[in-house]
């Protein structure tokens, strides 16, 4: 791996004409790295990407491709070093997928754009890498969105870029194709030492597939860092203006706000058994309380987000007297109790006790 930066931005302001949409963009990426831009809709991710891809002039500051300023390079020079995959759909006419991939070779062909043997070999290789060789003769208009995106990726690869710029490459794809595309990208980056700049909406994917993340919020590039740095300390909620605690970075799930009001149902959960019940109650608009959950239980983040109140116990410790007392009080103010568990372990006998009490009081309900 070479340590030289392939693409960098210094104090870049991106926008249209003189009006700045995003300012303060500074980063440096090397070959083999993926930089992902995240931020709310309309934050200006696409504007930054278009500026990096030389489709918009920088309002101020500059972008460097290798050691050269982007603004000083000619169109063909840029074309040989950078390829793009954009959100705009291309409208082809009578073009096979292979012909679409072949367009990636244009910066390397002569006056009339006729491909050489070597060009064909590279096209072939790019299609194999993107897994679209079988689609070769298919009409580009008649394949699925997922396949189309892979063909467009093959096209971008065939351009043999040092930098690949992708604007929301996973939008409109189903979950399988999202994973496939990003896995492919990851492998490609490793193999060819390409630097990738992309924007993503899926936070969980951004977290898993990026080396570095650039966060854009209210007109500025607010933070840049590793996924660990960005997805820590509740920053994501601030980035997207979400209520604190609603995004759980380890699961990559954002929960909606809880139903307010006095709890009507008490849910005894734990170990994942509670989540479906929390979600169902939330959908029905019924305020509920959840307990007694150790803070490291997988039910805990969902309960913390969706339940009106959560009775929690310290992680890895037996449930204490105080928690039991509090749970008992809350439970008796509810009209019914749902117990999601059959069996309780040694450190959470308090929950077994709660169930017995609920049954005795006739509060226990199946649903």
């Amino acid at each position: 791996m070479n340590g030289e930066s392939v693409l960098s931005a210094r104090a870049l302001s991106a926008g249209y004409g003189r009006s700045v949409i995003v300012s303060g963009v500074s980063f440096e990426i090397r070959g083999g790295e993926i930089l992902t831009l995240i931020g709310a809709n309309g934050a200006g991710k696409s504007t930054v990407l278009r500026t990096i891809a030389a489709q918009l002039p920088a309002v101020s500051g500059s972008v460097f491709l290798g050691q050269s300023r982007l603004a000083a390079l000619s169109e063909p020079e840029i074309a040989r070093q950078m390829s793009v995959l954009l959100t705009e759909r291309i409208r082809t006419e009578r073009m096979t997928c292979e012909e679409v991939v072949e367009t990636g070779r244009y910066p390397y062909t002569g006056r009339l754009g006729i491909l050489s043997k070597e060009d064909h070999r590279i096209v072939e290789e790019a299609m194999a890498l993107a897994g679209v060789t079988a689609l070769r003769e298919q009409d580009f208009r008649r394949i699925s969105d997922g396949q189309r995106q892979c063909v467009m990726l093959a096209r971008a690869i065939a351009q043999e870029p040092a930098v690949l710029v992708l604007d929301e490459p996973t939008s409109f794809l189903d979950i399988r194709h999202k994973l496939r595309l990003l896995t492919l990208l990851r492998a490609l980056v490793r193999e060819k030492q390409i630097a990738v700049v992309q924007s993503l909406h899926e936070l969980d994917l951004a977290q898993r597939f990026s080396d570095r993340i650039l966060c854009i919020r209210s007109g500025t590039a607010e933070r840049i860092g590793t996924p660990e740095e960005i997805f820590d300390g509740g920053y994501i909620e601030r980035l997207y203006d979400l209520p604190a605690g609603s995004y759980h970075a380890l699961y990559g799930v954002a929960e909606p706000e809880p139903v307010r009001g006095r709890p009507e149902v008490f849910v005894i959960g734990g170990g994942g058994s509670g989540i479906p019940v929390y979600r169902r109650l939330w959908r029905q608009g019924i305020p509920f309380a959840a307990g007694i959950l150790p803070k490291n239980d997988i039910d805990y983040p969902a309960a913390a987000a969706l339940a009106g109140s959560v009775i929690a116990a310290e992680a890895f410790e037996p449930i204490g007297e105080a928690a039991l007392r509090q749970a008992r009080e809350t439970m008796h103010t509810c009209r019914r109790v749902i117990c999601c568990r059959e069996h309780f372990g040694t450190i959470e006998q308090a929950n077994a006790l709660l169930r017995e009490e609920a049954a005795a009081a006739g509060l226990l309900s199946e649903t």
Binding site: Q55, S74, P76, V84, L86, E93, Y106, P107, T109, L112
Partner: protein, 340 residues
């Protein structure tokens, strides 16, 4: 598969080449006085003793056939360029009002020259026509910046065409001169008015324009993917768009200057070619459109002359009969594709 594709392309060019040759020959031998192929050969090699046949061939039939060939080709190439430029399959010089704009300025130039008694050179006719084409193109460009819908753009073009035609009619009505009949004939679209001296200018403009378009086939095919991708592939959009506008205007201006507005060829021919060759690659489309347009216009001209002989139809009447259904077919097919 590659071989099959090559065969199809070769076959396509062969077919178009043969059609061009046959129609060209028919243009020279048929007419009110029939001239045998033998005589044609003799005239061309300069051995003919028949002065009447010589005059008919060299002054009337050959210029007419050459005009149909060259201008038909130019019109189709212009149509293809405009379709690519506007990313609109039913764009063309006629439907976008570019031909009518050219018609207006040419008519004005003709009337002015008749009244002042200064004869118009072929070159100045083209210049007038080019100015009109560019003016219409400018208006269309302004409109296309505001509307994205392909049908609306075409409607705007048709409206521009109507306005230009109305003004032309007005100018023709109030210009009192015996030669107006001539002007009227031309304003309906016809290859008959082309003089032997004009062929030189036509050849130069059409061949240069077509060759230039052919040299643009690489950026054209990048442009087919959309502006952003074209830019990423290293196309200088500003220069490229300007060239495209100038070339398509020049080619359609040349047609209008000598043959008047000829309808639907620019729209229909590129689509016939796409169907025939199974591709929309500019490197194929430009030469093939040229040949197909040449054959199409010569064929239509033959029909215009022969159908109700000795009465002659305007060539636009015939091209519309064949061309307009193609446009309808495109619209219907697109609708079906969208619902797929």
């Amino acid at each position: 598969m590659d071989q099959k594709r090559m065969l199809r392309r070769f076959g396509g060019f062969l077919l178009l080449g043969v059609l061009c040759a046959v129609f060209f020959l028919l243009e020279t031998v048929t007419g009110s006085s029939s001239i045998s192929i033998e005589t044609v050969r003799e005239v061309l090699t300069g051995q003919s003793a028949d002065e009447a046949a010589r005059r008919i061939l060299l002054d009337i039939r050959l210029p007419r056939a050459a005009a149909a060939l060259l201008l038909g080709g130019a019109l189709s190439v212009a149509g293809f360029l405009l379709q690519t430029f506007f990313a609109n399959p039913i764009a063309g010089p006629f439907v976008l009002g570019i031909s009518s704009g050219a018609k207006l300025t040419v008519a004005l130039a003709m009337i002015a020259s008749l009244q002042s008694g200064i004869a118009l050179h072929a070159g100045s006719l083209v210049a007038a026509s080019f100015a009109g084409s560019l003016a219409s193109m400018g208006i269309i460009l302004l409109i296309s910046g505001r509307i994205r819908n392909m049908a609306q753009l075409i409607i705007s073009g048709v409206m521009i065409g109507y306005v230009c035609s109305a003004v032309t009619e007005l100018a023709v009505t109030f210009a009192d001169d015996a030669n107006i009949v001539n002007l009227h004939n031309w304003s309906m679209g016809s290859f008959s008015g082309t003089a032997r001296e004009d062929i030189g200018v036509i050849t130069v403009i059409v061949l240069t324009g077509t060759a230039a378009a052919f040299l643009l086939s690489k950026p054209l095919s990048a442009y087919q993917l959309g502006e952003s991708y074209a830019e990423n592939l290293g196309v200088n959009l500003r220069v490229f768009r300007l060239l495209l506008i100038l070339l398509s205007s020049l080619l359609s201006a040349c047609v209008t200057a000598f043959a008047g507005p000829v309808s639907f060829v620019g729209v229909a021919v590129p689509h016939l070619v796409k169907g025939l060759f199974g591709t929309a690659k500019p490197i194929i489309m430009i030469p093939a459109s040229f040949l197909c347009g040449a054959a199409f216009c010569m064929g239509c001209d033959l029909l215009a002359r022969m159908l109700f002989s000795p009465l002659e139809l305007s060539v636009s009447t015939v091209t519309a009969v064949f061309g307009a259904p193609v446009v309808l077919w495109i619209l219907i097919r697109r609708e079906r594709e969208r619902s797929m």
